[in-house]
Amino acid sequence: MDEISFRIFRFDPSRDAEARYQLYRIRPEPGLTVLSALVNLREEQDGSLAFRASCRSGICGSDAMLINGRARLACKTQVAEAAGDGTVTLEPLRGFPVLKDLVVDQSDFWEKLVRVKPWLIPGPEPAPERERLMRLPAQQFDELSRASDCIFCACCYAECPMEGRHRAYLGPAALVKAYRFEADPRDAGSAERRGALDHPDGVWRCHHVFRCTEACPKEIDAAWAIQQLQRRLAARHLRLKGDA
């Protein structure tokens, strides 16, 4: 393949007054991913380039960034595909404070996740004599797996226009996690999660733009999960089922 350009966002808050873009030229091998290109660049051209990555295989979720303006995992993006017009532009995830170059501060993302109590809250059953088996029928397990594949890359936050406008919004990943437990028949934590979910900055802030679903590298239908939560809470408000 011909030589192509990488146009990379550079910013070091301890040194730079403002961000700039730096151009690098590389000759990509077939099959080169954007992440491998970054590793090569750092090893061969510029040791000061900062980015985050770990597994290199779409599992850890640490190398999400804007690739030509869209939030994607660098390790799951082929350079040949991204370099349509000969240039690949790399920028940090939208909406997060930049720590350095392509590395952002995700504290806000983690804080929101914790707010929905993303763990199984069991009901008040009597303590079992030996161990408590909490089995789930295979079909229900498959249903929940749709929502539990999240790798916390935050691509959905960078793409969600509501997150872009209003940072207090819980956002897709936290709501997907909430759905994963709300839909689990073994979970009895709805009342504890309700304060965060049934709130103007909870499920009701979603306007069904579906950018989260589109962006998810694990193909989780985040907007669908949010709609399921809205539906459950609406039914409670309208007293269509259960206690309200």
């Binding site: 509501m162 709130h199 009701w204 408000h237």
Partner: protein, 119 residues
Amino acid sequence: MGRGFWPWFLQRATAVLLLAFLGAHLWLEHFAAPGRVTTYRRVAARLAHPAFVALDWGLLALVVFHGLNGARTAVLDLGLSPAGERAVTWLAVVLGVGAFLLGVDALAPFLGMRAPIPW
């Protein structure tokens, strides 16, 4: 609770009702009596009929609520202070009630006429 739910729910409920009311409105105004010339007398006579007025007032109420509630949502999405949110909500209420009363007042004079429906 319900601070987020009710505006959200009513936006959707009014949207569904709008579909029905708009359909009825378009049908009655344009297709129910094809070929008829719309004269002042005919329109006035229609507006004397409570069912027409109920439809028009209902449509007005729905559009005003839906439009202002939607605009309020879009503004609140920007993230305002609690005082700012209250101000926007009250502005919407005042504008909405005002617009509705204006419309009610405009159609009301015909109501008592009891003329036969001219189609």
